[in-house]
Assembly symmetry: D2
Homo-oligomer: 316 residues x 4
């Protein structure tokens, strides 16, 4: 069992532990400043709203792999009813939902993953995340409201394809190419919306292909992107894939599984999220040539949760 | 069992059925336009983000009255674990939440309430809302992303009190007074954030007082406000109370119970929401004299749900 | 839309409405008497216990068809933990389960199904089963504790096959044949355990085949059995199939769908249950030639539920 | 943090580790034999069935203390509905329940509690109970079907009171007195139903008093009973209290909290259960002078759960 020296060195280089004090739970969320929010607001040109969330439904993106993630189950506690003793002519419905917090479009909390029993900031993972209390360090209620400039990095467009191949690892060079196509320069506190096109599988009805890839080849962010994000002080990186990062690991060494998650969440404290839908956004950005927008994404503040449902919107 | 003639006439006057076509499920959400979004974005001055959501927790605002609404129950399907057969050094946590969609800060869907077996647009309530399918008309996935200019109407400030009394009905005159204090003019597509101060009870720990009032006197919106909202073409009205509207009914006739809900949701198609927290927002608005902001509130798109959790943010 | 005259006449012939008074919620559960319990207890010969329940698991018998039935989701609210402030050295685990009441081995409540807005006894179905209250007539808490003589009717054994074909309708003649093989005479208050062998598909891992049959041909009880059960005053009839009754309807008329459920539950008030496992029981009965036993099955008394999980046991 | 020497010595004396082999998950369930089942069946005199389960309801015995245990939430996934495309005249209801496995009348699994990272048989607690898999050692599916002779030990009757005082610790002498009153001799594989009368608080509507006692004084089994159970080779001990054992610890040392749970579950492997209702049973036993009966209690086999709902019945 190992984490390669190369990855350890990368983790050390991008570590933000202590950067904002020992009690910091925001991580790269600290890059979200009034200035970045103003920069985002300045991108609202036409006033168009583009939703980036997938609808939450019983036949959503969860297909049972990995086990333990469940699509929403919507049930009813009142159906076109009044309380039996209540007066009047009104009739109302109340419903209840049971779902994994990572069931659909979501942001990972910094408590979601760690290694060697440490979470972001060096806190003990086993001491900070317990079933009885939930995460007492970096739970969903600690996530910041994201409201900043977002930039769409359309990787398949930059590569001249419709969507990326199964198992394609997004590289720093590809980020550069996609950024270059936007004509924009990343500033501190921006967030990156990385389009791979993978969500098209889900939208077309191939849930299995979307969730687990093809022959265990899963498209996603490669480790080479991590330092790219770090140097530019981006606050968050969101993807239109199920697994976020490429699998199997680019090193070919399965012991490196989840390296991007581990380093971004634990060492860097980066906001990251999955199952975002950039298809409409990509069309709109392509149509008018503006790849920047005001990105607003406020995670549901479920106290102690380690992932948070979110319904993001791009204002253009 | 009755709905007074006066209320029926009011309902007819504010009805928006057919205004945007027979298949319209947006209601006053139609007032949300690119123009209103730009107007909102123009209110971002300092870039400050103010969250308007209450944290979602097991000891949240639900106290069992009315029955059938449940605070979030957060449980774990993985706790600092890898899959047993997965390689590597990562450890992660997955959680699952069970909660009423109206458990905390939420927006009512237009399918949430009706009368005489009709919902907004005249659709059959019993035909449109079934347990097996959820709402097939005006479910949560039909709610618009709210991104427009918000205006805080601070009623207690206008009345020179800290919070409104139990059973206080907010009137059109009080809306006028509070609006006047802002120096603003409502425009089509704005949303109103009505502060009563009632949420302070919850924040201070008196959950019972917040949820059910005092001696069954519940602070809230009065029927006189409905036409005020209608004339100004507001897209939504959100409150910092549990029940939204005043109880008992101002007419003294319990058969008028839920008149505001019924008329706003069914006849008018107005976006409305409860358990919003305007305390910090009120302080900030008071401090710099600006009561307008970019209000972004994107409901979780739970397909078929009749209420939707939302984590709203004011950008100032 | 129709229910054939033949089925209506059958329903009238087997109706037990009023037989035990207008307020009766037990139906054929009234046949469960001290005498039948003693008769059952007298069948305990070796003292062997044979469980008839399927384990409740995430990959249980529910495969999403029909929609709305969910296998158990087991989650944790405490994991080898103490309360943070509790003294001592103990560590404990608490878990929570979310499941359809019909998820696994269960008994249908008499409120589970009806037609023409009537349930057993003539009560209004729409008035008696509401989401807010659950079933206020014939909910799970009204089910009797079953403790009586059970008789295994092994249909495939009687027919000389291992299991019944897809779409096979069990007939009254086949019941006679299987009963004849036992050498027993049915007495009032006995319960019938009807083995088809269908559960083998599930036990072998073919969940789809078990739940939905082959090419929409589903093995089960035919309408001809209903009167057989009625004449013999059996208290309950339990099966090792998913759907209980044969599908498509034997008449070839899809409008007769669910005729057995409707007549047995609504008109007759018969206890019926599904997903029971008779494989081990059949082996034991075959081995020593005794097809009778003390059958104890106490449904979980979930107030207002329309199905009830049960873990039955045969004492031989 | 300590566990007194006295308790450690007791634990060693009653330990059953290895008694039935290293892989044994039944513990004292091994005392349940065909012989004990026949002995139980021989107690069926009148054929009367007495249910020992509390109804499962939203206002059940859970009051939020300890946190993390939830009463059943019953919700609907279909309400007097057919599938939209299904033929026929039937209408049916499907429901779903969310509840702690220990929400009501239940049996503790041997995986429910341990100390020093060991469960029954010496298995690693942290290794055997994980959120992702549930308990892989001594989960609910490993519990035996209980069908044996039960004996009611009516402690308050033996002491000439209606119910025991708050904080009363049941002692071995009191067990002797109550047993003596029955005129019975305990044999290997019998189960003890210990009546304290505490459940009366719940039945009378004082849920708080039942769940948490009075001024933190909780009635229950004392440590002195453990060896009494051990010597007699009882298979299980079930109580009509919320907490099972007396609190605070009789030693006055809070570090001994949960000593009965720990020793009985971990060292002895005894079946134990809570929230059983012996009120009717006590009346019937008193009326005819027979305190023995056939006790049948089959836990719901929820794979991996650490507690199991059960609906026990006494056949007399």
């Amino acid at each position: 069992m190992a984490f390669s020296d190369e990855l350890r060195e990368l983790a050390a280089r991008v570590s933000n532990w202590g950067r904002w004090g020992d009690d910091d739970q925001l991580g790269c969320g600290n890059f979200l400043t009034p200035e970045s929010a103003r920069r985002g607001a300045a991108c609202v040109r036409s006033g168009e709203r583009v939703s980036l969330a997938l609808p939450l439904r019983a036949d959503g993106v969860q297909v049972g792999q990995p086990a333990g993630r469940y699509n929403p189950i919507l049930t009813f506690t009142s159906l076109n009813e009044r309380d039996r003793f209540a007066p009047g002519i009104w009739e109302g419905t109340d419903d209840l939902v049971t779902m994994s917090t990572a069931a659909g479009t979501h942001i990972d909390c910094l408590s979601h993953m760690g290694y060697e029993d440490q979470l972001y900031g060096g806190r003990s993972q086993s001491g900070s995340v317990r079933a009885g209390t939930g995460a007492t360090w970096c739970g969903a209620e600690q996530l910041p409201a994201v409201a900043t400039r977002g930039i769409l990095l359309d990787i398949p467009a930059a590569l001249g394809v419709d969507r990326l191949d199964a198992g394609h690892a997004v590289t720093a060079d590809q980020l550069d190419a996609a950024l270059s196509a936007t004509g924009l320069i990343v500033e501190s506190g921006d967030v990156m919306c990385i389009r791979t096109g993978d969500v098209q599988w889900y939208l077309e009805g191939d849930r299995q292909r979307y969730a687990v890839g093809q022959d265990w080849l899963v498209t996603g962010i490669g480790v080479g992107c991590i330092e790219w994000f770090h140097r530019r002080e981006v606050a968050g990186v969101f993807c239109d894939t199920y697994a976020y990062e490429v699998m199997p690991p680019e090193s070919g060494n399965w012991d490196d599984l989840c390296a991007v998650h581990m380093i971004q969440l634990r060492d860097m404290g980066l906001l990251q999220g999955q199952n975002w839908n950039f298809e409409t956004l990509a069309q709109r950005c392509s149509a008018d040539g503006h790849a920047d927008f005001l990105l607003v994404a406020v995670p549901e503040p479920i106290v102690g949760a380690t992932s948070a449902p979110v319904a993001p919107v791009a204002l253009r």
